[in-house]
C-alpha cells in the first residue's frame, strides 16, 4: 500500500495538479469567507466542468475548495462573528472577542495555522488508517449515533456558559426549533401551525446567520464609535511566528485533530460537531476555563484544527467502503464515478494513482493554506473589514441578505433571519449561551432519528440503548463530563467558602 502511496506523490505534484490545488484553495477561502456560499454548493457547481479534465485535476480542485473553505469560514467568524460555514461556529466564541480586544491578526494567524495542521493530521490519517478505521465505524448503529448526538448536546450545554440550567434550556430550545417541519419517519407535520413555510423546517444556515451574525451587527450599530476595527488589531507581534504557535498549541492541535478525525470517520457527523467537541475538550482541560469565550487563542486553535481534521477523514468510509460520510464526500464519489472510477476497496488496486494522489492533494492543500491563507486573509480581507462601523453595518447586512436569499431564493427567509437575530440578541442580553441552541438544532434531529430507529429495530426494547459496548463507552464519557463539571463546581464553591471562613 505504501509503495503505491509514494508512487502517487509525483503525480500529485505535476504542474496541472498544483495549479488546480492553488485555484481550488483560493476559491475555497473566498467561498468559506462569504456567508451563504458553502463548499458543497461550490463543488456541486464545479463537477460538471470537470468532465473533460483529468481526474486528479478535478480532485485537486475539490481538495482545495474543501480545505480552503474550512479556513475561509473562520475569517468572518473572527472578524464579524459570522460563521462563514457552519463548521466555524466554535471559532466565533473566542475569535470575535480577540478582534474586539485588538488581536484580530493573531486570531487569523492562529486559525490559519490550526486549519493547516488539522488538515495535515487528517490527510495523514486518511493515508495510513483508512482501511482499519473504516472497519470500526461499521460497528456504529443507531443506538451509538444516538449517544454520540446526546453526548455532543449535553456536554456543550453543560460546559458552555456558567449556568447549567440556562445551557440546557438553550439546548432544548434548539432541539425544539429542529423539530419544526415534517417528521421524516411518519410524515407528520410538527409545530408548523398550518404554515407552508414551516413545513420544510428551518434552514440551518439561515438560523445560524440570524443567531450569530445579527446580534453583533446590531451591537456594532448601537456603538457610536467611528470605526469597529483599528489598524493595530490586524498587526501581529513579530515574536508570534509559526514556530511559537506550534510550541504554544501543539497539544491542543494534536487532541483536537484526533477528535476531528474520529468525528470525520463517523458518517453523518460533520465538521461543526468536530469543532464544537474540540473546543469543549480544550476548555475542559484548560487550567483557565473561564478565559474561554473572552478571547483565548487556544479556543480558536481547538475549533479550527478540529473542524479541519474532519475533512480528509470524512473521505475514509467513502473511499474504502463507498459510504459517503457527508455531502462533500458524496460529491467526491460523484466526481470519481464521472471519471469512470467505482469507489470501494477495489479502487485502491484499480486506480492507485488517483486515490493516493487525492490523499496527497488533501495533504498539500492543507499546506498551501499557510501561504494563501496568510496572504489573502490577513492582508486582503482584514483590510476590507477596516471600514468605519457606520459603513460596515449596512454592507454586512447586505452580505447576509444575499447569502440568505441565495439559499432558497425566498424573501421570507430574510424575515426569519431577522427574527432569529432578535432572539439571539435577547438571549445574549439575558446571559443565555447561543452555542447550545445551534447544537440543539444540529444534533436534536440526529438524536431523535437514531433513537426511533433503535426502538424500531429492537421492537421498543429500551435496553438496546445501554447494552452495546460502544454505547456504554459513550455513556461513561458523558457521565465523566457531567461529574467533572459537578466536581469543579463543588470544588470552587468549597474554596470560596473556606476563603470567606478564613477572613
Amino acid at each position: 500500500m505504501f509503495e503505491s502511496l509514494f508512487h502517487a506523490l509525483p503525480v500529485a505534484l505535476s504542474t496541472e495538479s498544483v495549479i488546480s490545488m492553488l485555484i481550488g484553495t483560493l476559491a475555497g477561502i473566498l467561498i468559506g469567507a462569504l456567508p451563504g456560499l458553502n463548499p458543497v454548493m461550490a463543488i456541486a457547481l464545479m463537477l460538471p466542468l470537470t468532465y473533460g479534465l483529468d481526474p486528479l485535476i478535478a480532485l485537486g480542485l475539490v481538495a482545495g475548495i474543501y480545505n480552503g473553505s474550512m479556513y475561509g469560514g473562520a475569517i468572518p467568524a473572527i472578524l464579524l462573528k459570522i460563521p462563514g460555514t457552519p463548521s466555524a461556529i466554535a471559532t466565533t466564541f473566542d475569535g470575535y472577542p480577540m478582534t474586539q480586544n485588538g488581536q484580530g491578526g493573531l486570531a487569523l494567524k492562529t486559525a490559519c495555522w490550526s486549519s493547516a495542521i488539522g488538515g495535515v493530521f487528517s490527510a495523514l490519517a486518511l493515508m495510513t488508517l483508512a482501511p482499519l478505521l473504516a472497519k470500526v465505524t461499521l460497528a456504529f448503529g443507531p443506538a451509538e449515533y444516538f449517544w454520540v448526538a446526546t453526548f455532543g448536546l449535553i456536554s456543550i450545554a453543560v460546559l458552555v456558559g456558567k449556568d447549567v440550567s440556562k445551557g440546557m434550556l438553550c439546548a432544548l430550545l434548539g432541539v425544539l426549533i429542529g423539530l419544526v417541519g415534517v417528521d421524516s419517519l411518519t410524515g407528520e407535520e410538527r409545530y408548523t401551525f398550518g404554515s407552508l413555510y414551516l413545513t420544510g423546517g428551518f434552514e440551518l444556515l439561515i438560523v445560524l446567520i440570524g443567531l450569530y451574525a445579527i446580534p453583533p451587527i446590531i451591537e456594532m450599530a448601537e456603538n457610536k464609535s467611528s470605526s469597529h476595527f483599528n489598524a493595530e488589531s490586524f498587526k501581529v507581534n513579530a515574536s508570534v511566528t509559526g514556530v511559537s504557535l506550534v510550541r504554544q498549541h501543539w497539544k491542543t492541535w494534536t487532541r483536537s485533530s484526533l477528535i476531528g478525525i474520529s468525528v470525520g470517520i463517523l458518517p453523518g457527523a460533520g465538521g461543526n460537531l468536530a469543532g464544537l467537541l474540540s473546543y469543549n475538550e480544550a476548555k475542559r482541560r484548560s487550567p483557565e476555563p473561564d478565559s474561554f469565550g473572552t478571547g483565548n487563542p487556544v479556543g480558536i486553535a481547538a475549533a479550527e484544527s478540529g473542524n479541519s481534521a474532519d475533512n480528509a477523514s470524512s473521505m475514509i468510509p467513502s473511499l474504502t467502503l463507498g459510504i459517503p460520510g457527508n455531502l462533500i464526500a458524496a460529491l467526491v464519489l460523484g466526481a470519481l464515478m464521472i471519471h469512470g472510477l467505482q469507489p470501494g476497496p477495489q479502487l485502491f488496486t484499480r486506480a492507485p494513482d488517483v486515490v493516493f494522489g487525492f490523499m496527497w492533494q488533501m495533504l498539500l492543500t492543507s499546506l498551501v493554506l499557510l501561504l494563501l491563507g496568510g496572504m489573502v486573509a490577513t492582508r486582503l480581507f482584514a483590510q476590507v473589514l477596516r471600514l468605519p462601523a457606520a459603513l460596515l453595518v449596512p454592507t454586512t447586512l447586505v452580505l447576509m441578505a444575499i447569502g440568505v436569499y441565495t439559499v432558497n431564493g425566498r424573501v421570507t427567509d430574510l424575515y426569519v433571519m431577522l427574527a432569529f437575530g432578535l432572539l439571539g440578541y435577547v438571549l445574549n442580553r439575558l446571559d443565555y449561551p447561543l452555542a447550545p441552541v445551534v447544537l440543539g438544532i444540529l444534533l436534536g434531529p440526529m438524536a431523535e432519528q437514531n433513537l426511533r430507529l433503535s426502538m424500531l429495530i429492537s421492537q421498543n426494547d429500551w435496553t438496546i440503548l445501554f447494552t452495546r459496548p460502544i454505547s456504554q463507552g459513550i455513556i461513561l464519557l458523558l457521565l465523566f463530563v457531567l461529574f467533572s463539571k459537578l466536581w469543579k463546581g463543588g470544588w470552587s464553591r468549597l474554596i470560596a467558602y473556606l476563603k470567606i471562613k478564613n477572613q
Binding site: M168, L169, I402, R452
Partner: protein, 150 residues
Amino acid sequence: MNFRDLISGITFLTCGVIATLVGKDFYADSAYVPMGVGVLMCLFAIPVIWRGAISVIRYETRTGLTSQPMVIDPARFGITLICCVIYYIALPVVGFYTSSTLFICILAFLLGERRPTIIIFIALSFIALLYGLFALVLKRSLPVEFFLAS
C-alpha cells in the same frame, strides 16, 4: 440573577408547557421527543425562575446587580431594524442591486457617516463586487431590478 431571569424562566416554562401540550397530539412515535423536550424545558426553567425570584425578593436589583440594559441605544437599534425591514420589503419590488445600494447609503448616513463621496464609493464598489461574484461568476438569480422587469 435578577428580575430578567424570573421573566425569561417563566417564558421558557410557558414554551415547555406549549411544546408538551401541542406535542401530545402528534402521532405515536412522533410525539415522544417533542413531549420529552417540553417536559425537560419546564424542569430546567424551574431553577432559573427560583433563583430569579429569590433575587427579586432579596432586592438585589436595587443594589446595582442589574446587568447591562437590554438595548444600549434604542434610537440606533430602532433605526437599524426599521431600515432592515424596509429593505426586505423593497427587495423583491425594487430589485436587489438598487435596493441594496440605497440601503447602504441611507443606513450609513443614519448611523453617522457624513462623507457622501465615501458612502457612494463604498456602496457602488461593494455592489459591483457582489454583481461580479453572484451574477457573473456564480450565476445566482436575485430579485430583478424594477427598470429591467418586463
